[in-house]
């Protein structure tokens, strides 16, 4: 028996490039960068513009952005008025790298200054990492399996992979997937800074010789994934398909990627095999591309190992993080979404700020200017790479509309 195909019927985003998935693509392709003063804040996002007073009060910013992005995604899928499936057949698997860190810091300050009684009874539901997925479940009455994925900067892609599997094994007819992060906080800045991961220059320029670390961003991406036959039966339009998914672990170092790139290459090979495709079928790679010295080098090595030198040099590779900064647990979701939208517009989006090539990194990183995408065979195919602290490697194989 063949497994069900999994299609994307709705997407929604909040990002440093504004509110809305089409806007994210349009602004990135136009060369706009959402980073100001060294951070990719979702500056246009004011929770009270989108949510009730009670929702805003009871959830952290990472859940606020999740709810707003989910409204966009469900509306596009045609779910706004009524759920198309039994609510217990709709799962919600949603990522965060850290959770409600801003709320955690705030409550810790209150406790330190005023004692235990000063802590809000809402503290735990504000900062728990599953707060966003719980809020999505309650907001939309989703009653199937509901949990958060946590694998740092790979979490958003893990959520899409787990969601895809849930549909393929028949546990769900549809899944709300994606990820959120809102950690532009004092502790996060200090912590990522201390470990030497943050860019001292405050510039995200993946694959550039001058790259000096990642720029922290915030945002949320939500995808509505459905069993393709059931989506077609209700007349839904598919934006794209999750063709393949694979995940491996480096088992190498707490934060540094395996410099050989071999475990990440293995994830690429396995994702292609899961899709029933080969490297020669790939039209575009949306890189993890963090702008750290180590990631961009090991990711380049991984692509070469998986594709072979010749095919690796031929495939365009670009990094969304050049426009948004690194949105941690949201990144995989935002990048899968924007990759599918770009394919559907037949555009290869650029790596912005890449002006001084690193002689060690010799792939086609699409510097600064987008270009047209001409699919090799019918429907366009992209890979989206995500790698997380802890050695988590996730690769999604995505198909756009034919």
């Amino acid at each position: 028996m063949t497994r069900p195909r999994v299609v994307i019927t709705g997407v929604g985003t909040v990002s440093p490039l504004g509110i809305g998935a089409d806007l994210l693509l349009r602004r990135w392709v136009a060369g706009e960068i959402g980073i100001v003063d060294g951070e990719g804040a979702a500056r246009d996002y004011v929770a009270t513009d989108h949510l009730s007073k009670k929702e805003v009060r009871r959830t952290d910013r990472f859940a606020h952005m999740a709810m707003t992005a989910s409204d966009e995604a469900l509306a596009q899928a045609g779910w706004s008025d009524e759920l198309p499936y039994d609510p217990e057949r709709i799962a919600c698997i949603y990522a965060t790298g850290i959770g409600g860190l801003g709320s955690l810091e705030q409550q810790h300050d209150l406790m330190r200054d005023g004692g235990n009684a000063s802590v809000s009874p809402l503290s735990v539901p504000l900062f728990m990492p599953n707060a966003a997925v719980a809020a999505l479940s309650m907001r939309h009455n989703l009653r199937g399996q509901t949990y958060a994925t946590a694998s740092a900067c790979a979490a958003g892609s893990h959520s899409i992979g787990a969601a895809t599997r849930a549909i393929q094994v028949g546990d769900a007819d549809a899944v709300i997937a994606g990820g959120s992060e809102a950690t532009l906080t004092l502790l996060a800045r200090a912590s990522f800074g201390k470990m030497g991961a943050l860019s001292p220059s405050g510039i995200s320029r993946p694959f550039d010789l001058r790259r000096d670390g990642f720029v922290m961003g915030e945002g949320a991406g939500v995808l509505v994934l459905e069993d393709a036959e059931k989506a077609a039966a209700r007349g839904a339009r598919a934006l794209g398909e999750i063709r393949g998914f694979a995940s491996t672990a480096d088992a190498y170092h707490l934060t540094a990627p395996d410099p050989t790139g071999e475990p990440a290459a293995s994830a690429i090979r396995r994702a292609l095999a899961d899709a029933g495709l080969t490297a020669a079928d790939v039209d575009y790679i949306n890189a993890h591309g963090t702008s750290t010295g180590l990631n961009d080098a090991s990711e380049t090595a991984a692509i070469k190992l998986a594709f072979g030198e010749e095919l690796a040099r031929a495939v365009p590779v670009s990094s969304t993080k050049s426009a948004t900064g690194h949105t941690l647990g949201a990144a995989g979701a935002l990048e899968a979404i924007v990759s599918v939208l770009a394919m559907n517009e037949r555009i290869i989006p650029p790596t912005l700020g890449l002006d001084v090539p690193d002689p060690e990194l010799d792939l086609d990183y699409v510097p600064n200017v987008s270009r047209p995408l001409q699919p090799r065979n019918g429907a366009p195919i992209a890979l989206s790479n995500s790698f997380g602290f802890g050695g988590h490697n996730v690769v999604l194989c995505l198909e756009g509309a034919a």
């Binding site: 007073k53 009670k54 009060r57 809000s120 009874p121």
Partner: protein, 81 residues
Amino acid sequence: MATATPEAVEARVVEALASFGPDADQVTRDATFEELDIDSLDLVELAQIVEDDYGVELKGDDMKSLKTVGDAIDLVVARAQ
């Protein structure tokens, strides 16, 4: 510590509850917590506020018996005597 006159307590309780979600004009003495979508977590926060302002300590069991805004105001005023 503020003096717990019925008027002062009413104004403070209404203000607190309105900050939790409902519009201030919905928060009348007769309004039930159910109608206002005020749940147990909100009531724990309300208890913290009245303790800070009036020194009245309300326990979980006290809160459970409250059905309306008026019930909460009356309980705080009575305990503050």
